[in-house]
């Protein structure tokens, strides 16, 4: 529709032009043209007073109007005119363009009334002042400076920019789709036409080309964006869960997906830079002792029970640290594997730190003002508590209940915030609960320490049972399974608000996991030290064996002995591989326990409840066992600690990340299925909100805590003498020094040595801590200033409130007085009043309207016009009230349709 209308608009513009030309036959005669412009409005004003007559419209609609052909036609027409009147200046041409535009603008106004009757009457009206203002400003400038081509050019340019901005911000306008469409098309046509017209000759073609490319580019970008959103894995699964369980459960899955992405990157790093080069270019299996299964283990090395414990062939594979050779370079690429191993170990931590901190930062940027949230507790509960994603009636019922409870709670809180019943009992119970929980934590820590110690005893014995071998993992998993519910039971004593209770619970589970992990690490460290102390004797033994082998008598001296088979060489215990194996086992057992818990605790329980309900004494679904809820905090913490183990273990077991990627992948599918099949929505549905950052903070803490032991072992323990890429070195980081000495020019080595000087490092650390102190104090003072400003604003607001009621009455009386004073003022006041008072249902644009009505004086004088328009037509033009503005009357119906159409004259 807009196209036809625009065609009409242009025709109208052309009509104006034609008349204007006929009115001034002398080309370039400026004085002759001026009166002609005054004739034009009269000619057109008559039919246009109240919208276009239907006849005109049909004629316009009949004219074919494809997109650019018409503009081409217009272009073609222009040269013809130029031929006829070669002396016409560019200024004239642009003014003509402007007039054409005026015609369009006026037509826009003209179009408004029929639309108004059709749909959204209030909205249409709302936008009129804006349009009116735009066209009038243009018009006024024409009459003042017709010769100023640059000015007009600039004005058109400005309008083009306006339209472009409109196109860009179309999404942010609260219009219905139909209006968006028409507005968009209009703006686009305008931009296309006039932007092209601004360029001349070749520039125009270039411009068209550019526009075409831009269009293509936009389309490509959109397609690419679509493609990208389609590529997000599990998006639909997560949305499905989101709609059933609300956003909090979905936030766990989003976190899981994020974790999977991070692990994929780590996996790529480790596999691409360590494992694959080693497999492709390193010496093959069986060539040297560290890559060979020892003779004693050989016959059992392929048994599944051995492999399941990551012994046998798996232990002597690139999945573990011990397999790697200490050759400086491998293969024809001269790949420096030990160096790469070290750097990848460092960059795994570097990348993880960076990505965690970055996502934390991006999370905090979203939340602008945490402090202000307590100002609006009720309003937030009221306006933002409904989760629109909920599509399940059961969840919706829970949500209703939780909203009601929160309303009631907050009302009660407001009414009696300081009421405490028997504070002594509560305090006693809380202390008791904390005491019990600390006992639990200590007990679990001791249990783990005891078990790890025992497992070291077992490892010395020859034949140990399956349970004895896996005791540590089993005990740790069981503790992780049974302690959280125990804590929850104890926490019932405390009688905290559930939100605070949840935080305590999270903190306690965190402490439990952390304590367990660190006890495990300490016990492991004991083991490592034991192995290190044994290393010297084994080293001697190895040397002795080799020496004996080569120097033994009994062999023919003339023939050199074949080298000793690698499987027969006695070798050290390789504590690094042992640590790696421990982490590997822990990860696998953790995974299995998680899956079994889900299967038994959720799925079988759900099956039992579902099917036994038919023949049971009480209602199983509503009563005791019922269905399981999805335990968000436990799952998130489990995920976080699992990731901590991966970070700790990945240096000593490069294959660990691969296993973890598999684990995350399977648990994504498995948990999605389990949630949808056997869990019920939470009884108290709470929103995910920004607790994401809380999880991220935990993750960062765990990352840091898992960095510590790895850094300690790298920095202060000597590597094993006969396994791993750093064997034979005093410390693992010596590999960097070696690389610098051998592969870089000497001056670089000197620079590095200089940089590593404690005399430089200590000042650098000092400087950094000073910088942290400074930045911290700056941020503190800024936040203090922020708080003060907020207080000031609040005080001002209070003041304003008090004033307003008094002042409002006063101004009302005052305005009445001025209204009596002058009739013109009265009209204005009345109009501005109308602009300020919201129309019955124009809630959408009240604000815009206010600014339009009161903000610009020009629009106020514009709106004055309709009142004067209804005066007798015979009135001489020089007494018009708006003569000061030099208003062009090419389209007097514009204002008529603007206000007086909706409001009868008085």
């Amino acid at each position: 529709m807009s196209r036809q209308l625009q065609g009409l608009g242009e025709e109208a513009g052309g009509g104006v032009r034609g008349r204007a030309r006929s009115g001034s036959p002398g080309t370039g005669d400026r004085s002759g043209r001026r009166p002609s412009r005054k004739q034009a409005p009269k000619a057109q004003g008559a039919p246009g007073k109240r919208g276009a007559p239907p006849g005109r419209k049909e004629r316009a609609g009949g004219s074919p109007r494809p997109g650019s052909p018409r503009s081409k036609q217009a272009e073609r027409r222009r040269p013809r005119e130029e031929l006829r009147k070669p002396e016409r200046s560019t200024a004239e041409r642009t003014s003509e363009g402007r007039r054409k535009r005026d015609g369009r603008a006026s037509f826009k106004e003209q179009r408004a009334p029929p639309k108004k009757e059709k749909e959204m009457p209030r909205k249409e009206e709302m936008w009129k002042p804006l349009k009116k203002h735009r066209s009038s400003s243009l018009a006024s400038s024409t009459s003042v400076g017709e010769s100023l081509s640059e000015e007009e050019l600039a004005q058109i340019l400005e309008q083009v920019e306006d339209k472009k901005k409109l196109i860009a911000t179309m999404r942010n306008k609260p219009w219905p789709m139909a209006k968006k469409l028409t507005e968009l098309r209009e703006a686009q046509e305008f931009v296309e036409k006039y932007e092209g017209a601004l360029g001349k000759g070749k520039g125009k073609r270039l411009y068209a080309c550019k526009m075409l490319m831009a269009k293509k580019w936009v389309k490509f970008k959109r397609d690419f964006h679509n493609f990208k959103t389609q590529c997000i894995p599990w998006e639909m699964k997560i949305k499905d869960i989101e709609s059933h369980f609300g956003s909090s459960v979905a936030s766990y899955f989003i976190f899981l997906r994020w974790m999977y992405g991070v692990n994929l990157v780590l996996f790529g790093l480790i596999f691409g830079l360590i494992i694959i080069p080693e497999v492709l270019m390193g010496t093959p299996y069986g060539s040297i002792p560290r890559k060979t299964v020892p003779r004693a283990e050989e016959e059992k090395a392929m048994d599944f029970s051995v492999l399941w414990d990551f012994e046998g062939y798996i232990k002597y594979s690139p999945l573990f640290y011990g397999y790697y050779n200490n050759q400086r370079t491998i293969g024809w690429l001269r790949y420096r594997l030990p160096m790469a191993y070290f750097m990848v170990g460092v960059s795994v931590f570097g990348y993880s730190l960076m990505i965690v901190i970055r996502s934390m930062a991006s999370n905090t940027q979203g939340s602008t003002s945490e402090g202000e949230s307590d100002n609006f507790t009720f309003s937030f509960k009221m306006f933002t508590s409904w989760d629109y994603l909920i599509g399940n009636s059961e969840t919706a019922d829970n949500k209703y209940a939780s909203i009601t409870t929160s309303f009631k709670e907050s009302i009660v809180d407001e009414q009696e915030s300081n009421k405490e019943e028997n504070i002594h009992l509560t305090r006693f119970l809380r202390v008791l609960a904390n005491f019990l929980i600390i006992c639990c934590l200590c007990g679990s820590g001791y249990l783990i320490y005891f078990v790890v110690k025992r497992s070291q005893e077992f490892s010395k014995r020859q034949n140990v049972s399956w349970y004895e071998r896996n005791e540590v993992e089993i005990v740790m998993s069981l503790l992780g399974m049974f302690c959280p519910p125990l804590f929850e039971t104890i926490a019932a004593l405390e009688n905290y608000h559930p939100r605070i209770g949840l935080k305590w619970q999270l903190g306690r589970i965190f402490a439990l996991f952390l304590g367990n992990l660190y006890t495990f690490l300490l016990a492991l460290m004991d083991d490592v030290h034991l192995k290190l102390s044994n290393e010297e004797t084994i080293k001697n033994l190895t040397h002795w064996t080799l020496f004996n082998y080569y120097n033994s008598s009994g062999w023919n001296e003339s023939v050199p002995r074949p080298p000793l088979h690698p499987a027969d060489v006695p070798r050290g215990l390789c504590w690094e591989t042992a640590v790696g194996i421990e982490f590997m086992r822990l990860t696998v057992s953790d995974m299995l326990v998680t899956y079994i818990t889900i299967l038994v605790g959720d799925f079988l329980r759900a099956c039992f409840v579902r099917f036994m309900n038919y023949c049971w004494c009480w209602d199983l679904e509503a009563g005791f066992p019922s269905y399981a809820e999805f335990d968000i905090s436990g799952n998130v913490l489990g995920l976080i600690f699992n990731q901590g183990m991966i970070w700790m273990g990945s240096f000593y077991a490069p294959g660990l990340v691969g296993i973890n990627v598999l684990r995350l992948l399977t648990s994504m599918y498995f948990q999605c299925w389990a949630v949808m099949s056997s869990n019920v929505p939470h009884e108290r549905v709470f929103k995910a909100s920004r607790s994401n950052n809380f999880y991220m903070g935990l993750l960062l803490l765990v990352l840091f805590l898992s960095l510590l032991p790895v850094a300690y072992t790298i920095m202060s323990l000597p590597p094993s003498f006969d396994c791993g890429p750093f064997s034979g070195k005093n410390r693992m980081y010596d590999v960097i020094q070696e690389t610098i000495e051998n592969d870089f020019p000497t001056f670089l080595g000197k620079i590095f040595a200089f940089l590593a000087n404690p005399g430089l490092i200590i000042p650098a650390i000092l400087l950094m801590s000073l910088a942290i102190y400074y930045l911290n104090s700056v941020s503190k003072s800024l936040s203090r200033a922020n708080a003060q400003l907020r207080k000031k604003i609040q005080a001002l607001r209070e003041l304003e409130k008090n004033h307003k009621s008094v002042k409002g009455r006063a101004t009302a009386r005052g305005s009445e007085d001025t209204a009596k004073g002058s009739p013109q003022n009265a009209t204005q006041l009345q109009l501005t009043k109308e602009g300020a008072t919201p129309h019955s249902a124009s809630q959408s644009q009240t604000l815009d309207k206010k600014t339009q009505g009161a903000g610009t004086s020009s629009s106020a004088s514009e709106t004055m016009l309709p009142a004067s328009q209804h005066l007798p037509v015979s009135r001489p033009p020089d007494v018009r009230p708006d003569s000061g503005r030099g208003r062009p009357h090419t389209h007097p119906w514009k204002s008529a349709s603007g206000k007086s159409a909706g409001r009868p004259p008085h």
């Binding site: 997109g67 269009k215 709609s243």
Partner: protein, 212 residues
Amino acid sequence: MEKPSLGRGQPTASGHAASLQFPGCPGSRDFPDAPYRIPPKVAPATACGRAHRRFCELLPQEHRSVEESLQIRVSLEQILSLPELKANPFKERICRVFSTSPTRDSLSFEDFLDLLSVFSDTATPDIKSHYAFRIFDFDDDGTLNRDDLSQLVNCLTGEGEDTRLSASEMKQLIDNILEESDIDRDGTINLSEFQHVISRSPDFASSFKIVL
């Protein structure tokens, strides 16, 4: 009114609006020359196609062609039966706000797209809060007065008798809300006051969305 009929993928298509086909929609093969044009960035093409498919499912079998589905209106009851809206206490308000028909009781495909674009992830918080205001404004008078607020509370607390608030609780609640957000003290909350409050809410934008 003549429909702008443009060939598929003609570069002369004016503006940045792309002509778009609905690949998954039944009947789109029959009308290769009747593309539907949507403004860019209102919704991505695939999402639009999905929306149209969902919209088609609401229509009777004989009206499912592209041409007809763009013209026809779907009644309120059918829209309300969508599983995404079924559990929503504001479903009727949502439909009324987005409906452009004079009686405000039916949605055309454009209205439906409007609805989805406002409730999509990509809509700006301003747009979302604007429409939230209109949804909460039960009597369509441009402000949230006490009646609107009490109706809103009733929507949020559900149908059940046990979850309803008593009159005194309701009064207390509404007093508190007005105390917090009615900046100019006129006894009602207008759009700017509403947006002032909403813009400070950390999780409004994440919960004010509907996914097809």
